[in-house]
């Protein structure tokens, strides 16, 4: 046993010494494009795991002679043709037995997904201008997704997609719009990602998928949005719109909220000239009336809660104890949120409950605030009464002084001291 260990030790040291890499040695000495990969590879996750140039490019890294090292006979591929790149990466990444060594739960479906993506389908059809693995993940310096410098890190992914999709020239021959990145930059999602720093906020891949990138299909738009907006989806599932929108060209949530440039919703979506209801529900129709009704509820509840708040604030300013109704007001605001949520069922009956509850709280807190203000007036009345008592006492004292001094006990006229 011990002997075997000694031999193995000697052997492995010899092997380690033999792990020669002539590719890196020569290319590091070269300038320009031929030298760059040798620099970039230092940040590559594959290199960190012990892979060398030859694992992708073939050839013999143990040979010192460039001709021998890069001989086709030794399997040297040179620059990998674009159409072969996905397959080459899949060589390892779709092989469960390889990937298992780097993590027991590594995904191996990237290639399969890619083949179903528009990118993959076009590549198969011979269009080499579409994105392959290296266009998104970069080449020679492929980093982990969580690495902030990786082009597929959430904060950088939109720009990575936009490199092609926002390029009008490049997209011209596909006849697809190029405003997605620009729109996305205006959206609440980008704001959440960058301003709030919420790395779980959706980027391109969150809705379109990453390797299987494709426009979400009509029927699945709601499902895609619903992965995050769970409660909105639940309401929307009850809605009469659900079945109808499912068959239209754009489908689901995006019909009202748009797709890439999703804004914070306002009441203007329900009423007025730019209402999102107007294109389908003629002004004066049942549907349009319902929209106006819903807008009135939301607006009215908001205003009622604000009025309660201002009355309570005034009462608090006067030092009145209104912290309980102020806490209650939070419940009221929660009901406003619930009502906004229930709107997505597009059934007035669903909105009734939170709206009524909200109005009830608004009334209750308003009453509490007004009672506090009345209490303040009572305090002032209390003050007035005590002032009267004080004045009466003062008059009484004055009368006492007068009586004392009239009774002959007038002040002495002795000499003052000092």
């Amino acid at each position: 046993m011990r002997l075997r260990v000694m031999i193995l030790l000697a052997l492995s040291c010899a092997l380690a010494g033999a792990a020669k890499d002539s590719c890196a040695e020569c290319h590091a000495a070269l300038d320009g494009p031929l030298g760059r990969p040798a620099t970039l590879i230092k940040h590559d996750i594959h290199a960190a795991q012990g892979f060398s140039c030859a694992n992708c490019h073939g050839g013999d890294p143990t040979a010192d002679d460039p001709g021998e090292a890069m001989s086709r006979a030794k399997g040297f591929l040179g620059k990998v043709p674009r159409r072969l790149i996905p397959k080459m990466c899949a060589g390892c990444h779709s092989n469960p037995n390889v990937m298992r060594k780097y993590g027991p739960q590594q995904r191996v479906d990237q290639y399969e997904l890619y083949l179903t993506s528009i990118h993959g389908q076009r590549l198969a059809a011979g269009d080499e201008k579409v994105a392959t693995c290296i266009d998104c993940h970069s080449v020679h310096d492929i980093r982990k997704v969580k690495d902030g410098l990786a082009p597929v890190h959430p904060l950088r992914l939109p720009d990575t997609c936009g490199r092609c999709h926002a390029d009008r020239q490049r997209m011209a021959k596909y006849g697809i719009p190029t405003n997605q990145l620009q729109d996305y930059h205006k959206s609440v999602h980008w704001a959440a990602l960058t301003r709030r720093g919420d790395l779980s906020a959706p980027t391109c891949a969150s809705c379109h998928g990453n390797h299987g990138a494709k426009p979400p299909q009509v029927a699945s738009v709601a499902a895609v949005c619903g992965t995050c907006h769970v409660m909105h989806l639940e309401q929307y599932a009850k809605s009469p719109h659900q079945a109808v929108f499912a068959d239209t060209a754009t489908g689901g949530c995006t019909l009202c909220h748009s797709n890439h440039a999703i804004q914070h919703p306002t009441l203007a979506m329900l009423i007025g000239r730019n209402s999102v209801c107007a294109p389908c529900h003629e002004s004066g129709s049942e549907g349009a009336k319902t929209a106006v009704q819903m807008a009135e509820w939301l607006n009215g509840l908001d205003a009622a809660l604000q009025r309660s708040e201002s009355v309570l604030n005034r009462a608090e300013y006067y030092g009145m104890e209104v912290s309980e109704p102020q806490v209650r007001l939070h419940d009221g605001r929660e009901n406003l949120v619930k009502a906004r949520l229930a709107l997505h069922s597009f059934r007035p009956a669903e909105m009734h409950k939170p709206v009524n509850a909200g109005f009830a709280i608004a009334r209750e807190t308003l009453a509490a605030g007004e009672a506090a203000l009345r209490e303040k007036d009572i305090r002032r009345l209390g003050l007035a009464v005590s002032v009267v008592f004080i004045l009466v006492t003062m008059v009484a004292i004055w009368a006492l002084i007068r009586r004392l001094e009239r009774n002959g006990r007038v002040p002495d006229t002795g000499a003052a001291r000092g």
Partner: protein, 358 residues
């Protein structure tokens, strides 16, 4: 034994042991001169009355107040909203503090203009000036306690000014703040000053001040012929009048507290920049405004330092008033003193208003 008899016997028993008789005897001899300036005699009493109100309301506030950065503001808010009549107590404490300082100033100037500081009342004057200093210290330390935005930054400014005092400035500021900057240590320290150090000092000084007044009696202005000035008994004649004035002061206090409840403002946030228009309480405003007017450099000295030096010299002159107010022949330099008093009162009034307006 009838009830009256019983009462008389009980009174006699207590009198034997406590000797109230001597006090009554003393009281019956105490007299107050009656003349045109008599109303000014009331102001010392009003100050004392307001001080008593401060002690009572202060103790009540202490039952709920917590002197830490984390809880000071919230505890004052709790007092104002949750504690039964807490709003009233806190408003009265704040209003009464300001009124007390104002009345004390009036009292001081009345003493100056009636020349009541003159021998043998030098110690009365000195103890009174010391009391005024204690009251200003009460105001400065109490102002910080609610730990709101304005008080926090005003204290920062105030201790910064203290730091420019020549020689001892840095050490003084560090002592006041309990550290390099206004923070939790400052709050704890100001609280300790406000509730125990200053009250002890004030009680001792008030005791001394009253004892001295008792010993020397009330002063009559020097332009009156003492032998021809009428007097009234302190008790009950003067005392009842004073009581009326106190009742009046109580009514004013209650009205102020109920109609203009003292604001609490926002909780202090040391990480924001100072809100616009930070200025100290009105009784420091004249000095504050003066310091702002002085150019930042005078000759080779810092402007603020020059200002403080000037204030220091002026204060020493003022405190020493009884000692230079007489000519070598013993006659009073009354015109000089009156002129200086008018000048000082005018300066304080004008600069306070300017400091408030600007």
């Amino acid at each position: 034994m009838s009830a009256a008899e019983l009462r008389a016997r009980a009174a006699g028993w207590i009198d034997d042991r406590l000797g109230f008789g001597a006090v009554r005897e003393l009281m019956s001899h105490k007299v107050v001169p009656v003349h045109a300036a008599t109303p000014w005699y009331y102001f010392g009493g009003i100050t004392l009355f307001l001080f008593a109100i401060q002690i009572i309301t202060g103790i009540l506030l202490m039952l709920y107040y917590r002197p830490t950065v984390a809880e000071a503001f919230d505890s004052v808010q709790f007092i104002m909203t949750r504690v039964e009549f807490g709003w009233l107590i806190r408003s009265i404490h704040s209003w009464s503090a300001n009124l007390m300082i104002f009345v004390a100033f009036v009292h001081m100037f009345s003493v100056v203009f009636t020349h009541a500081y003159r021998a043998p009342r030098e110690l009365t004057w000195l103890s009174g000036i010391a009391l005024l200093g204690v009251m200003l210290a009460f105001g400065f330390s109490g102002y910080l306690l609610p730990w709101n935005q304005i008080s926090y930054f005003a204290t920062k400014v105030g201790t910064d000014v203290a730091a420019t005092t020549p020689a001892i400035g840095e050490a003084l500021a560090r002592f006041l703040r309990g550290g390099e900057d206004v923070g939790g240590a400052t709050l704890t320290r100001f609280f300790a000053f406000h509730v125990i150090v200053l009250p002890l000092a004030a009680m001792l000084l008030v005791g001394l001040h009253l004892l001295l007044i008792q010993k020397t009696g009330m002063s009559t202005p020097p332009w009156m012929d003492r032998s021809r000035v009428r007097t009234m008994k302190f008790f009950p004649n003067f005392f009842l009048r004073e009581l009326m004035v106190w009742y009046g002061a109580l009514a004013v206090l209650g009205a102020l507290a109920a109609i203009f409840p003292w604001e609490l403002g926002e909780k202090a946030d040391p990480f924001t920049s100072a809100p616009a228009g930070i200025r100290p309480e009105w009784y420091f405003l004249a000095q504050f405004y003066t310091l702002k007017l002085i150019p930042s450099h005078v000759w080779f000295l810092e402007g603020e330092m020059v200002g403080l030096l000037f204030f220091g010299i002026a204060a020493v002159v003022w405190v020493a008033l009884p000692f230079w107010a007489s000519n070598p022949d013993g006659s009073l330099r009354s015109r000089l003193v009156t002129g200086l008093g008018i000048f000082l009162a005018a300066y304080l009034a004008v600069f306070t208003v300017l400091g408030y307006v600007k």
